[in-house]
């Protein structure tokens, strides 16, 4: 017997430990939830890093570019051969005779232009990574596209798609060389002598900087499209990925950002950003994958980003290293060279330079926009698209939706709860409460579906009627109530006891019927042409079928049972002694409820509203379906919106693990989590504070 009891006691201790362990799992789960969200967001805070990866001698080189294979590069020697390293494989350049006076590539290493003893050759470079046995090697091929002798000129830039276009200085003017059918067509223009130039990828336009002017040049027509004065002499120029933004480095150390905007019949150049620096800019290199770029100054290498307008990372380097700045194609390295031929390699950890507090919450001037604004547009057609990650439209969208939801369901829920807990008989209350709880169980998908596919078109057609009904119903009810109050007391009481339900229901139906019949008559009289076209023409307000009004109504519908239940619970928990005291002093029931019960239940009522608001902010499906899901910044009830939650639901499945969009969406999830926590805490604090004030009567 004692054995059995001992076994039972051991089992009891084991059970207690196991149960406590399971309960702790819940705690662990919540911590994990918070921790993992933070973990996925944390890399956003890490700044990009450039780390010196070593230097090596390549002998005297004219050009060097990193290859697609990690750690590889090719160099151009004075003799006119390309050498691939590692491996030492040589690629001859056809027709090139020493001395090689000048050599340039375009920004992405597709074209190679060589000015040599026999003239000027343009080569199309194709590089590939091939398998040689077990190893991978870089293979480079240079195909002669154009060869000719255009005379003496200084080559400044190269570009183009099928046919190369070269821009250079000829004497004291500008010369443009177009490669057609294997030979050069030269054009010279009397323009201020260019210092630096860059040609767009398609070869249609070129940005040319002279000593004190920046010019946008039309290469096809040979005319100037736009120009702007420069305050400092330019030393380096490049175009960022996408060819929309021009980056210009100057003698005074400033790096300015320019963009061309259509104006009237032509174009205008606007400076849209500036980075200052100590020493003159020696070279600029655009990133091949995003809108970042590298700035080489004397003694320091910087990594900057267009969207954030910030220098994200810096690293010192030897003063002698002043040329050959290039990004590796995989964006994991930078190459800088010295005149002696020594090359420095840098490893780059880019991180997420385009996501900063400024770009998430502040106004940013994006490419293509004349003004700084808050925009959410995470993806575009290509890599060259500038991702716009402002959380402001999303946050405002969440608040807008919740606001319209509370506008509808706050008063409705509270009033319904007041009536149910104070004026309904016990029996009816026992039916109403479960019914409303059932309503709480309706999935939000169903509500969203009905709202979007049934309600939204109907509202669009009958918006005027609805607004009319919203005015009529309270008006009619209040008027009727005031009239009935004029009756003698016995009749009033009889009414309360027997006719109230019927009368109120009938009046609501009457008001709806009245709006339905009067609406078609009133609308053309008050708003000729229709209410919606009136809004559009007079006030410029456009009406989207799926808008904040419909979504707010649906959200309110979903949140209504929550507000009702919590408020009803709070009202029912008010001690009956309070109510009875008021009644015994002669107050009518309604008066007693309004002046005694409602204030006593105020903590619970406020908690109900807060919980409802919190729930409305976090709701996803209804907004996804009924709001049009457009990330615009507008408080109009007739336009749509996109909320944080809907954005996460739509975009997270498409975001690649670890990329900026993924982390920004995780940040949005973290914000929602913190908001829910804050609302819960606020609700508890408010409830306790008010409880201390009013609840002391218990």
């Amino acid at each position: 017997m004692a054995e059995a009891r001992e076994k039972a006691r051991r089992a009891d201790r084991l059970a207690a430990a196991a149960i406590a362990a399971v309960a702790s799992l819940v705690l662990v789960a919540v911590f994990l939830l918070f921790l993992y969200l933070v973990r996925e967001v944390w890399p956003l805070l890490r700044s990009p890093r450039i780390v010196h990866g070593g230097q090596f001698e390549q002998g005297k080189v004219l050009l060097a570019r990193p290859g697609e294979l990690s750690g590889s590069l090719w160099v151009l020697r004075e003799e006119g051969t390309l050498e691939i390293s590692p491996g030492g494989q040589l690629v001859g350049l056809e027709g090139v005779q020493s001395p090689v006076r000048q050599a340039l590539t375009d920004r992405w290493g597709r074209w190679l232009g060589v000015v040599h003893g026999a003239g000027f050759s343009a080569f199309r470079l194709r590089s590939q990574v091939r398998f040689q046995g077990q190893d991978r090697v870089l293979e480079l091929r240079a195909r002669t596209v154009v060869f000719g002798d255009p005379g003496d000129f200084e080559l400044l830039a190269l570009g183009g798609e099928e046919d190369p276009v070269a821009v250079g200085r000829w004497g004291q003017g500008l010369c443009v060389l177009k490669g057609r059918s294997g030979s050069w067509e030269a054009q010279s223009f009397s323009q201020p002598p260019p210092r630096v130039a860059v040609v767009e990828g398609r070869g249609g336009r070129a940005w040319i900087a002279a000593a004190d002017t920046l010019v946008l040049w039309d290469l096809e027509r040979g005319t100037r499209l736009a120009s702007a004065p420069l305050s400092s002499s330019p030393t380096s120029i490049t175009l960022l990925l996408g060819d929309l933004t021009c980056v210009l480095g100057a003698e005074d150390g400033s790096v300015t950002l320019w963009e061309a905007y259509p104006s009237g019949e032509g174009w205008v150049l606007e400076q849209k950003g500036k980075f200052t620096g100590g020493s003159p800019v020696q070279a600029l290199a655009p990133s091949p994958r995003d809108k970042s770029f590298a700035i080489l100054r004397q003694g320091v290498l910087e990594l900057a980003n267009l969207t954030s307008r910030k220098v994200a990372a810096q690293v010192p380097l030897p003063q002698r290293a002043d040329r050959l700045l290039t990004f590796s194609p995989r964006l994991d390295g930078l190459l800088v060279g010295e005149p002696s031929g020594r090359l420095h390699r840098f490893a780059v950890q880019l991180g997420h330079p385009e996501v900063t507090l400024g770009t998430l919450f502040g106004r940013v001037r994006y490419e293509g926009y004349r003004e700084a604004s808050w925009v959410w547009q995470s993806t575009g057609g290509s890599n060259a698209f500038e991702s716009k990650y402002s959380l402001v439209p999303l946050i405002l969208g969440s608040i807008k939706g919740a606001f319209y939801a509370m506008l509808f369901s706050g008063p409705l829920g509270l009033l319904a709860a007041i009536y149910t807990s104070q004026f309904l008989s016990q029996r009816t209350r026992g039916v109403v409460k479960p019914v409303v709880e059932l309503l709480a169980g309706v999935p939000s998908v169903v509500v969203g579906f009905v709202a979007a596919l049934v309600l939204a078109p109907w509202v669009a057609k009958h918006i005027f009627l609805i607004l009319l009904a919203l005015v009529f119903i309270p008006l009619l009810l209040v008027t009727w109530g005031v009239l009935v109050e004029r009756l003698p007391r016995p009749l009033q009481l009889a009414y309360e006891r027997r006719w109230e339900a019927l009368a109120t229901g009938g009046l609501v139906a009457l008001a709806i019927f009245g709006s339905a019949t009067l609406g078609p008559v009133l609308e053309p009289w008050l708003f000729p042409g229709g209410f919606l076209s009136f809004l559009h023409d007079r006030w410029g307000v456009s009406y989207d079928q799926r808008n904040a009004l419909v979504a707010g109504f649906a959200l309110g519908f979903a949140v209504l049972p929550l507000i009702f239940s919590v408020a009803e619970e709070a009202l029912s928990n008010v001690p009956p002694s309070l109510l009875n005291a008021a009644l015994s002093l002669g107050a009518s029931r309604a008066k007693a409820v309004a002046t005694v019960v409602v204030p006593a239940a105020a903590p619970g009522l406020l908690a109900a509203l807060l919980l409802g608001f919190g729930r409305a902010v976090g709701e996803t499906m209804i907004v996804l379906m009924a709001s049009g899901n457009t990330p615009i910044l507008s408080f109009s009830p007739f336009s749509g919106m996109r909320t944080l939650s809907a954005c996460i639901a739509v975009e997270l499945p498409e975001a690649a693990y670890g990329e900026s969009l993924y982390r920004v969406l995780m940040l949005a999830a973290l914000l929602l989590f913190l908001f829910a926590l804050a609302i819960n805490l606020l609700g508890q604090v408010v409830a306790r504070r008010l409880s201390a004030r009013f609840g002391g009567l218990r």
Binding site: P443, E500, F557, G618, T620, M621, L652
Partner: protein, 499 residues
Amino acid sequence: MSAPPVRVSEGLPSRAIAFAALVVALALMAGMLLVVVVGTAHGFWPRKLVAFTLADGSELLGEPWGEEPDPQAPGNRRVRLKVGNRDLLGQDFVFVRLAEVVAEAYPQDAVVLERWEYGNFYGFPVLLKYDGREVAPGDPQFEQALTAQLAKAYRITKRFATLRARITTAPSEEELAELNTLAAHLSSCNLTLRTASGVTKEITCGEVVRLWRPNRMGLGAQTLEFIRRLWQFLFSEPREANTEGGIFPALFGTAFLVMLMTVFVVPLGVLTAVYLREYAKDNAFTRGVRMAVSTLAGVPSIVFGAFGLAFFVYQVGGAVDRLFFAANLPTPTFGTGGVLWASLTMALLTLPVVVVASEEGLSAAPPEVRDGARALGATRWETLRRVVFPYAKPGILTGVILAVARAAGEVAPLMLTGVVKLAPSLPLDGTPPFLHLERKFMHLGFHIYDVGFQSPNIEAARPMIFATTLVLLLLVVVLNLLALIFRNKARKALEGGVL
């Protein structure tokens, strides 16, 4: 001296407004249910086929799907006619302006063919060819032959599909031979039809799911057809990008998800409730667990989805892949959304519901009974197991039912952790290891969202969406009602003090 008249304000206007608020709140729910029921009935009730002859001589045959005012000719009306024949006409619906209609008829021999591909066909049968014989509609044997041949072709098509699905890489000789015989059977039966505009089309009998003549149906036949459609809807596979067919995989997927979730959430939730109710001391740990439960209750559902994606899918799933399924990499097995991760995420989401309901259930055991057990020398664990638990069962069951109802309707977290528009296979099937927890699945709630907002042909799919919504709504309402009944039973037991 007479007393001054007593004027007591009853506050009737405010009462009226408050009562109207309640009425509106209740009416909204009834209204929503009504909308869904009417939408389903409207979509599934078999319609007659109407043949319009227009002023320009053209003929149209189809199902009328609603009248509305004609925006191009104010004062007149137009009819939305479902003309089907997507393979011939490119669109399902056309607008017929009543002002242009010269003649309207309900031809008795017009047929509707429900097909495996391209939707419905509306037309008139011209010729039936089978086993080398030809029968025309005038022939007395036509009807019989038609019904028999179509039924046979339907069976053969189903057998063909099952067989082909079973054959994977190396089919045996017999299987190949059987496939060939079946294919030969199918191609031997053809039906030639004529559309209203006179175009003839020949289709094989195997393309037809069903054939019926709506204009010959009386009310009884129509009711039977309606019920048959609802049945098909519940138990057949979807077709035509979810716009036709049924929702069986979605029902199965929802049921499977919910059952798997229950396996996780019930032990976790019930034991947590047991701890909070029976074993908890007033210390920081208990407060922490309570706060954890209430925090989980307040977190928006999409945040659970984001966590499920980051932790379960990428972290745990990635680790599982690297440890056990490295051969498949870089194609993820568990490192992508699936029914296992989705059910774990939903378990976290519905945990507070189960905890609260279980706590309530545990309170149902009267203290006298507990004390009595302890007085007899039972340990805490023994009391719990033998005495308290029977009282707690209704409460726990309530919690489970509410959790199930919540999981059936919650869509947002699933969108991130493994639900798909169309799943090629079910998570539970006949191929070993029979339980495939890494597979993606379909879900009723997501089905509504997907078909209603992301399908290529929303108009044609409208009846499907309404019906799916009705199914989900009924499911959730029934579950909640059950939970309500159990909770009331539990409360009555608590008040009564006896089992």
